[in-house]
């Protein structure tokens, strides 16, 4: 007989059993009998029965705790249409956080086979449906893209975007998400001022000026002809595609009118160039939508060059990409593979510009020094270079992993990291234990065993600092961070009008004995998340609010051992790394999702799931190497194709 949750004991047993019988009348044996008696594989019907028996009390027949009802998963089609729901079920079973502790647990072997079944059958269902492209890109350049693009377009070291409003992240958490790239009423004025300032700067820089005005009037070239040639060169690079005569006419006219008013040749030309820099064709990435409704088309070669370049370089396509696009030679696998490799390996800071955005927003470490300030009263010796090093460390580690095609799992655990003089000081490392002569430049350092805890994302002070309060670390923020950013768990919001929890481990442990159960019954809304969050955070207690190692705090000796919801004991940061390694595929799926969202500059849609599964497969097949992730994204359907979609199309 089922053991009912006390809070649902009043539900009439009769009604529920009747429902079960109607829906699953064909199944004679119960799932546990079937699985055990025959050793047979899990099937959809058996899985449904597991759900009804183990989850139905709280999640069916009108009871839809947490907004989840198993009726949504009743048909096989739901493996595709309710993919995320199924995956959430898998996640909770895998963690053993469902069924809740006051309900009858699933037997271990059944739980394990159910978890595997959900994993494979949802993946297979998605793969079977096949690839689906997404909408054509339409968005303005993000502020950082604008700055980088003007820098590369005019060849100047001048931050032209500084007067633009800050962009706020949306979608998968990046500032380039089309949905949140707002257009404020003041923006035309801001773009105009930025264009004036940038052209002014360029006209005073000898190299930049020569590049900008390379055609000058002479016996064989009229003034207008020279102006047109210069304007064409700028427009084709600014608009990231070839430009027609007709499109140029407007800009040439601006030049001619200015010249007619006796403006000197150069000034008149620079004036017309302002027009190019405030044109929506420069400020917006606007792909041509497919002509037929619901048709899928490859993106054009020039559009592909733009996608590739803003993804990996956070800036406009370079000469080589432009040339390949002009010749129509970019959109094939061999060439793309070559270009991806080139963009990743190229000298210069372009890859770092992009990873600064990707990593900084993914982990939230971009906030260090701006939205997240280090308390200077408490840490008077933390100067701007120290904070900058904390912010930069995860970026250069990711950059290095990409350049060397290292395993992505080195983000979890490794025997190296990047350090500089400031970080060695912040982390209080003994300099005789690590090799190297440290200056301000971050360099790759092999870590001795005793400092291995400094490797991977968890060893980075910046990661710990952004998940701390001003003067103390926070197990809850850190636990939620790892669940969300590394394991892809979507935690529901704390219910309204509920006070914050006491974060001390003592309080949590006191509660584990008897109080915890009662607290759970009194407010299961808390336990359902904090059973997952808190143990992870406690494993990181050796890191203080700057991410420095500590063996003691005011409360005495630090105890970083913790018990996960599945009963697994985790000991400190190394134990947590091992735990994450045991879930490496989940980690890579999160990373694939985040990076695909960044590469596409939009929220992912349900239809992108195929691409994610394929990317994960590619990474796994390539020993988790980082470039497999990038190539998987670049070769994916939504990256190389576009489809007309309505606002409600999946």
């Amino acid at each position: 007989m089922l053991l009912l949750h006390p809070r649902h004991i009043e539900t009439p047993m009769f009604t529920r059993m009747a429902t079960l019988m109607i829906v699953f009348a064909s199944i004679a044996m119960t799932w546990s009998q079937a699985v055990r008696a025959t050793g047979q594989d899990m099937t959809f019907d058996l899985a449904s029965e597991v759900l009804v028996e183990s989850c139905g009390d709280c999640h069916s027949g009108g009871a839809d705790e947490g907004g989840f009802a198993i009726e949504d998963l009743a048909s096989e089609a739901s493996l595709v249409t309710q993919f995320h729901r199924w995956r959430k079920v898998r996640e909770r079973l895998d963690e053993r956080t469902m069924p809740p502790s006051d309900a009858e647990p699933l037997e271990d072997d059944v739980n394990a086979s159910f978890v595997t079944w959900i994993e494979t059958s949802t993946t297979n269902a998605i793969i079977e449906r096949g690839p689906i492209a997404g909408p054509p890109q339409f968005r303005r350049l993000a502020k950082y893209e604008y700055s980088n693009t003007i820098r590369d377009l005019l060849g100047i070291h001048f931050n032209a975007g500084q007067g633009l409003p800050e962009d706020i992240a949306g979608g998968e958490g990046f500032a380039n998400a089309a949905e949140t790239l707002l257009i404020s009423p003041a923006i035309a004025d801001q773009y105009l001022q930025a264009a004036i300032a940038a052209l002014d700067y360029a006209s005073k820089d000898a190299n930049a000026r020569e590049q900008l005005i390379s055609t000058v009037p002479n016996e064989s070239t009229t003034e207008e002809g020279a102006a047109r040639a210069n304007l064409r060169r700028l427009a084709e690079r600014a608009f990231r595609r070839p430009v027609s005569q007709q499109e140029l006419d407007g800009f040439v006219k601006l030049f001619v009118e200015a010249r007619d008013d006796d403006t000197p040749f150069e000034q008149a030309l620079l004036f017309a160039m302002r027009g190019i820099l405030i044109s929506p064709r420069f400020l917006f990435i606007a792909e041509q939508p497919p002509v037929e409704p619901d048709a899928t088309e490859p993106v054009s070669d020039h559009e592909l060059a733009v996608r590739l370049s803003y993804f990996l370089w956070a800036s406009m396509p370079d000469e080589k990409l432009r040339q390949l696009a002009d010749e129509g030679r970019l959109n094939n696998e061999a060439e793309l593979e070559k270009q991806v490799s080139r963009l990743i390996r190229a000298r210069g800071t372009h890859l770092q510009d992009s990873m600064e955005q990707f990593v900084g927003s993914w982990l939230g470490t971009a906030d260090l020094g701006s939205a997240k300030q280090i308390d200077r009263v408490r840490f008077p010796r933390m100067t701007d270079p120290h904070v900058a090093a904390l912010r930069k460390q995860p970026v250069v580690v990711m950059e290095s992993i990409l350049r060397n095609n290292d395993s992505l799992l080195e983000l979890i655990d490794a025997d190296w990291t990047f350090l500089n003089n400031e970080l060695v000081t912040v982390y209080q490392l003994r300099r005789n234990k690590i090799e190297g002569n440290f200056v301000q430049r971050l360099v790759r350092v092999e870590l001795p065993d005793e400092y291995r805890y400094r490797s991977g994302l968890l060893g980075m002070g910046g990661v710990m600092a952004v998940n701390s309060y001003a003067r103390r670390g926070s197990p809850i923020l850190r636990g939620a961070f790892i669940l969300e950013k590394m394991l892809g768990v979507e935690l529901p919001p704390p219910p309204p009008e509920v006070p914050a929890l006491d974060e001390s481990k003592q309080a949590a442990e006191a509660a584990t004995l008897r109080d915890r159960l009662e607290q759970h019954r009194a407010n299961p809304a808390c336990a359902t998340c904090h059973d997952r969050i808190d143990p992870i955070g406690f494993a990181l207690e050796n890191f203080d609010e700057l991410g420095r190692w500590r063996d003691r705090d005011q409360g005495g000796e630090i105890d970083a051992t913790t018990l996960m919801a599945d009963g697994r004991q985790v000991d400190g940061v190394q134990g947590l790394k091992d735990y994450l390694m045991s879930r490496k595929e989940t980690f890579v799926r999160v990373l694939a999702r985040k990076m695909l969202g960044y590469a596409l500059g939009r929220s992912l849609r349900e239809s992108d799931q195929y691409a994610i599964e394929k990317i994960v497969q590619r990474v796994k097949d390539n020993e988790y190497r980082s470039q497999a992730l990038v190539l998987g994204i670049v070769m994916s359907e939504p990256f190389r194709n576009k489809r007309t979609v309505g606002e409600t199309t999946p």
Binding site: F138, R139, R140, P165, E166, I168, A169, G170, G171, E172, G173, F174, A175, A177, E179, T180, L182, I183, S184, P185, A186, I187, A188, L192, Q193, G250, F251, L254, D261, F271, R274, G275, S279, R281, L283, F284, A286, Q288, P289, S361, G364, A366, A371, K372, Q373, R378, Y469, A470, R471, E484, E490, L491, P493, P494, P496, E497, P499, S603, T644, E647
Partner: protein, 443 residues
């Protein structure tokens, strides 16, 4: 009574709005008589996140005589320039998460759409933008949006809302929040540029005409939601074009800055200290009202769930949001109280500054109507009831200040927003879920 009589001038302005006259024509429509009329009413809303210590904000007595509660103590001599409002809330915000739902809708009184970006929607236009639509065409900038705190990166995965919501209180349309400027220097430069446009330099208007044509062509290729974005860019280009046209026209009815910006000192670029940044931004608010660059301003002391560290205050050692979760522990409540008291002190600084700027027989504060408050009361409980709200300034003589007005519990805050609109001569009879203006506020 739900409607204040409006004068002829207001009706004219209202008609201008209805016909969506461009700025230039609206200006030409201002008669010489208008110049001799009383100075314009300025409208501002000043938001701080995370609520207040609930037990020492509300005065005990009601009416014109009340003892100043501890958190309002910095008002000092300016006690009589403000009214305390008790019992207001937004019913539409009694849902969703602890912060974003309330903060984004503070000036709209609506329920926002939960999203990480797609389908961003506040559910309504904010009070300041209703005012800006009505009175904004009399000034170069219809409104100004200011703030202090940069937005944290990423989306707030824990609550599933984009941080756009936590960083915007001004909504021009339900889908167009207005970005705020957080660098006081850029605000100063912008105002200076506006006040001195029309010099010998070659006009940029032909550039804008070309962009306009270009954008229209591009627009035709786009899907509907993308067209909306392109329209917003077109709007932005057009309003700049109109402003330049006005500034470059030699007409005597042209707007002129009431401040000679060359005599004013530009604020420093990037002060690190929070308190310094707030002070400089409040100076910019005062300068904007004084010069008449705009008559509508919103200002955010911090974003939702602000993590600004207030340890610069004696006896405080944590961030605003963290402190607001005080768990009823006295030492945390004490810090929480100090932070809200500091915010009231900043308001007082602005009030003193505005009062010192003479305007005919009165001063800018008397001609202003400034809302100051938060979108939740007790941060520990994220309580949306009985919001902590002050209204400062006499609204050009229309409002009676210095009162503690206690309304029936859970009265619509929209009534207060409606009152502000009417004080600013906006011909509006309802706003969000309003039931009518708050009569006792009127003089």
């Amino acid at each position: 009574m739900t409607w204040k009589p409006i004068n002829r001038r207001t009706v004219l302005r209202g008609a201008g709005v209805a016909l969506a006259l461009p700025w230039l024509e609206a200006m030409a429509g201002r008669s010489a008589a208008a110049d001799s009329e009383s100075p314009p009413v300025r409208t501002a809303a000043m938001f701080f996140p995370n609520g207040v210590r609930p037990d020492c904000w509300t005065p005990e007595q009601v009416g014109g005589e009340w003892d100043v509660p501890r958190q309002l103590a910095p008002l000092g001599d300016h006690k009589n320039d403000v009214s305390v409002l008790t019992g207001l809330w937004h019913q539409a915000c009694d849902t969703g998460d602890g912060h974003y739902v309330k903060d984004a809708a503070w000036l709209t009184g609506t329920t926002i759409t939960k999203t990480t970006g797609v389908n961003l929607n506040s559910g309504g236009v904010s009070m300041d933008q209703v005012a800006a639509k009505a009175v904004g065409n009399a000034t170069p900038l219809p409104s100004l949006e200011l703030g202090i705190e940069p937005v944290r990166s990423g989306v707030d995965g824990v609550v599933g809302y984009t941080r756009v919501y936590g960083a915007h209180i001004s909504w021009r349309t339900p889908t167009q929040p207005l970005s705020k400027e957080i660098n006081p220097r850029l605000v100063f430069d912008r105002m200076t540029r506006i006040a001195t446009t029309g010099s010998r330099e070659r006009s940029n208007r032909p550039l804008l005409d070309l962009v306009n044509e270009d954008a229209k062509r591009l627009r035709d290729q786009l899907g509907r939601s993308d067209q909306r974005r392109m329209d917003q860019y077109l709007d932005s280009v057009r309003s700049l074009e109109q402003r330049l046209a006005q500034a470059e026209s030699p007409s005597s009815t042209s707007w002129k800055s009431k401040v000679d910006f060359s005599t004013r000192e530009a604020p420093e670029e990037h002060p690190r200290e929070h308190a310094r940044r707030v002070k400089l931004m409040l100076d910019m608010m005062a300068l904007a009202f004084e010069s008449d660059v705009t008559r509508v301003i919103t200002f955010m002391f911090g974003n939702s769930v602000s993590t600004v560290n207030f340890s610069f205050l004696d006896g405080v050692d944590d961030s605003h949001h963290e402190t607001s979760h005080h768990q009823n522990k006295e030492e945390k409540l004490d810090q929480y109280e100090k932070i809200s008291t500091w915010h009231v002190a900043q308001l007082t600084y602005l009030l003193a500054k505005l009062k010192s700027i003479r305007e005919g027989d009165s001063n800018v504060l008397d001609n202003s109507c400034i809302l100051f408050g938060s979108a939740l009361r007790d941060g520990n409980r994220h309580s949306p009831h009985n919001l902590p709200l002050l209204l400062a300034g006499a609204g050009g003589g229309k409002l009676k200040t210095g009162q503690h007005i206690k309304l029936t519990n859970d009265s619509p805050m929209a009534n207060l927003l409606l009152t502000m609109l009417q004080a600013a001569d906006v011909p509006q009879t309802s706003f969000a879920d309003s039931t009518g203006p708050i009569d006792s506020l009127f003089a």
